[in-house]
Amino acid sequence: MIQRIDNRFAGIFFLVIGLFTLYGVSAQDEKPIAPVGRSYALTHVNIIPSPGKKIEKGTVVMKDGLITAVGTNVSIPSDAIIIKADSMYVYAGFIDGLSRTGVTKPKDEPGQQRPKDPGNPPAERAGITPQNDVRNWLNPSEKSVEELRNLGFTVSQVVPYGHFLPGTSAVILLSGKSSDDMVLVDQSGLYSELTGAQFIYPNTVMAVMAKWRDLYRNAMLTKNYQAMYVTNRNALLRPQNDRVLEAFYPVIDQKTPVVFKAEGVLEVQRVLTLKRDLGFSLTIGDLREGFLVLDKIKSSGAKLFLSLDLPDEMKKDDKKPKDKKDSIKTGTKPKTALDLEKEGLEKRKKESIARLTAQAAEFSKAGITFGFSALTAKTKDIPSNLRRMIAAGLTEEAALTALTTAPAKLLGLDDRLGTIENGKIANLVVSDKPYFNEKAKVRYVFVDGNLYQLESKAPAKPDSKTVAKGSWSYTTETPNGSNNGKLTIKDDNGNLSGTILNSMGKETELKEVQLSGSTLSFTFEFSMGGNTQKVEVSVKIDGDTFEGTLSPGKFGNFPMKGTRDPK
């Protein structure tokens, strides 16, 4: 497949090396191949230079990380490695508008004491560290870089871990040897979430929003005074330095946007309220329920990245086996009010899932520009989620736009990214069939002119055994903010037991621990004001993560997520 049009000895030598290196990499531990000159030519390939356009049997030439020629009548430089991509499809590399790809998660510090005055905690405990820079946590060997790149993504806007105001974001290439190597744009935005701290100020969403206004207005005043001081340094009191407030200055100057994660219909409106009150320019990432207030979002002028995550599809005959069993036992029983209630809810949930899946289609039909964000999506589900969105009415052209030209524009990088054109950064994805075809496989990805070849892997066995045993870190979201803690599951020859440690440092024994298929369920009790409350938990384990609900009886159901602690 790969040849080198060069009959010099050195050419043959490099050809051998090139072949060896290319075939020697597996999807597991691939490394960028950087032959001399980094010169490549993709030949006989179906080029999709931009959404809606197509060049059949064309050639794309790259050199030193840039695209140097595109078309059918292109001369191939003598030093180029030729990749015969006959009948394959090449697209501009995909762009993810918000995620933590390549960002190392700082270690949790469990067992922290509640501050003596919970109303006035140190800024770091409150989640107020806007002066932090995601570049400090970037690591090109993070697994997430390779995983997302293998799908054809070449660029991500990434943000630090944390809540409220964790720090500034950066636009990175999913390639490179070091943090600085990866960065395309540093401090691309000020990242924020409307998530409070646990049991300390600001705890609730309303306090987070109040503190946001307080910080922003303080920063405006401080900035103005600093400007005044510069012009009159002998006459005025010297202003104090404040890194937290200074982090807002580029936002106040409208040089960078605030990048907010906002999934739900209420959360996104709260973010828009802050924008309206304070006047900053806004990027919204990970949006899921935006279609419920589409006009409001459209008129806000915010830049949008819709979530690539979708709720699981409901299986058609989820309950049938159970019902069968029951009906054999009891004969055909008339439906109770509870049955009808359940059926009604299931029907509504199905409708909701359909609408959530059609969000991108609705935005596209309304003429709104948007990209996608991978922040909370399971990477392996992204291609099938895109296909579900297309099945729900998003055109393939619009899907491709949202993966390439639209995010390039939203990030202000359309001069360098988003299309296959001369002079653009050599970010490409090559698939053996049209990308949105169910059977399509990504064969090559170029990032910044570096080639990554993917082996066609046999799909992972679906029946790989779920392991519940081990130590897990979990988080739950309740109306009072998020909580996290540790979950330990022990397996004694199939008899499961365990403990749960909450964020207050209290450890409780688990009861009724069961693993059925990939679903882990258990209960535990906690005492509150003399009353004992039973809590039911049911989560679905997927490898080293789980997701599910925590149900403390009448208090409702709260989402619970977890990841396996590294051994």
Binding site: I200, V265, M528
Partner: protein
């Protein structure tokens, strides 16, 4: 099934334009205006969300919906001055003073209990911050325009700002007991409030001084640090935010009256005020108001000295008094709660109805817009079969801004606006009386294993 779906779709598409104002003619009802007497066989015409005319035999304008209210009772939409529904957060319990936080930021228009409240004739609520803090957060006045996903559409535009204060056991338990900081005692609560007002006064003075001097030659000062908490407290001192204070005992009510007097604050409503009857003349003399339960008490030590005659005694002493629910269930029958004052205190129909209409409107500062059926006011109406103060009273229609938001004859089983794919079935739960929601979000402080 299809038919139900169709009805649902119609409902949603009708009500999706939430801030739309409707027009309608309510014919031949017994009109309980509350402020202008009771008018038999009278029509009420609502035009573009406002009451346009109240008279006999109003001809129906072309294309306007007509409700035949013959034999029915037409009253102003009920106003609940103390509720915690339609909110995503109730207590920011991390600090004894949180004046800067605002419930208007966390309105949740999707909660089903908004529709339940409409089914009880309620059209407007005062959604309060909880009572964990001596000075809690700002509250929000909501019109129950159920059917909208828009946060803004629920807020009653132009309603004055209000704030929650709290005295007694709740703030001392949360901060003294829970976090081991001031206030641990009732004295501490007074100290916290006085100190906050003093700080706010100084903050205002500092800003005034800065603004006055900044252009003076040779002035070297920097602007004071912006502080949203003190900004908010300053607005209270200026009279731009009304205080609604959770309180029970007569001594603490007198304490806060003295504090208000010292800081020149005139507008205050005492919420609960179970011992309000003991200081009714003092409240009336100050112009302070009271919002009470009809007969709910003894759920903790400071609410043992209580009386079902409270509302009547306060009313007879000239205190503007309302009856509130503090509870989504009780909210659905506030008209019965008001009716109890006729058994305990022999209030007249108008006096009893005022407790859930014009009086709460006065306490919330919206009496020019709602609380009675008068020409020019908002078209917020509840229509009852049988008199609303009788135990046979049943709401038939609830109308907000001239739009029917509840119609008993067309009341689909599933009124959820949105079903989250992750949500489980809401099974019926029964709260025992005594579980108010004022302390939501603070439970963890009182777990038995915590010292």
């Amino acid at each position: 099934m299809k038919k139900i779906l169709l009805i649902l779709i119609c409902f949603f598409s009708l009500s999706a334009q939430a801030q739309d104002k409707g027009s309608m003619l309510i014919k031949n009802g017994t009109v309980l205006t509350v402020t202008k007497g009771t008018l038999p066989e009278t029509d009420v015409l609502i035009k573009d969300g406002k009451i346009a005319q109240i008279a006999k035999n109003i001809p129906a304008p072309q294309g306007v919906k007509v409700i035949d209210a013959k034999g029915l009772f037409v009253m102003p939409g009920i106003i609940d001055p103390h509720s915690h529904i339609a909110l995503d957060a109730i207590n920011e319990m991390t600090s004894p003073v949180t004046a800067e936080v605002a419930e208007s930021d966390v309105v949740n228009p999707l909660q089903i209990n908004i529709y339940h409240a409409l089914a009880g004739g309620v059209t407007t609520i005062h959604a309060l911050h909880g009572s964990a803090n001596a000075i809690g957060g700002q509250c929000v006045t909501l019109k129950l325009r159920y059917g909208t996903f828009s946060l803004d559409a629920m807020r009653m535009e132009g309603a004055p700002r209000t704030i929650k204060f709290a005295l007694g056991e709740n703030p001392t338990r949360v901060h003294g007991g829970g976090s081991n900081i001031v206030p641990r005692t009732r004295m501490g609560v007074e100290f916290v409030i006085r100190k906050s007002f003093s700080d706010a006064k100084k903050y205002m003075e500092d800003w005034d001084a800065y603004n006055k001097n900044k252009s003076v030659k040779g002035f070297r000062g920097a602007p004071p640090a912006y502080n949203l908490r003190l900004e908010t407290l300053a607005e209270i001192l200026k009279g731009n935010i009304l205080i609604h204070c959770h309180s029970y005992r007569a001594d603490e009510i007198m304490m806060l009256l003295n504090v208000c007097k010292d800081f020149g604050i005139k507008k205050i409503t005492f919420q609960h005020a179970n011992e309000g009857f003991k200081v009714a003349p003092e409240l009336a003399a100050y112009g302070a108001m009271a919002s009470v339960f009809s007969d709910w008490w003894a759920y903790k030590f400071e609410v043992y000295y209580s009386s079902a005659y409270n509302a009547a005694i306060l009313t007879k002493n000239g205190v503007v008094t309302s009856v509130n629910s503090d509870d989504p269930e009780m909210m659905r029958h506030l008209y019965l709660e008001a009716g109890k004052t006729q058994k305990y205190g022999a209030l007249t129909d108008d006096e009893a109805l005022a407790l859930i209409t014009i009086n709460p409107a006065k306490q919330m500062g919206i009496d020019a817009r709602t609380g009675s059926l008068e020409v020019g006011k908002d078209g917020d109406v509840a229509i009852f079969k049988n008199h609303p103060l009788s135990i046979y009273g049943v709401p038939q229609f609830t109308i907000v801004d001239g739009i029917v938001r509840f119609d008993k004859a067309s009341d689909p089983a599933d009124m959820r606006l949105w079903a989250d794919p992750k949500q489980n079935l809401d099974e019926a739960t029964f709260y025992e009386k005594g579980t108010d929601h004022c302390m939501d979000g603070t439970e963890f402080l009182f777990t038995s294993d915590k010292k």
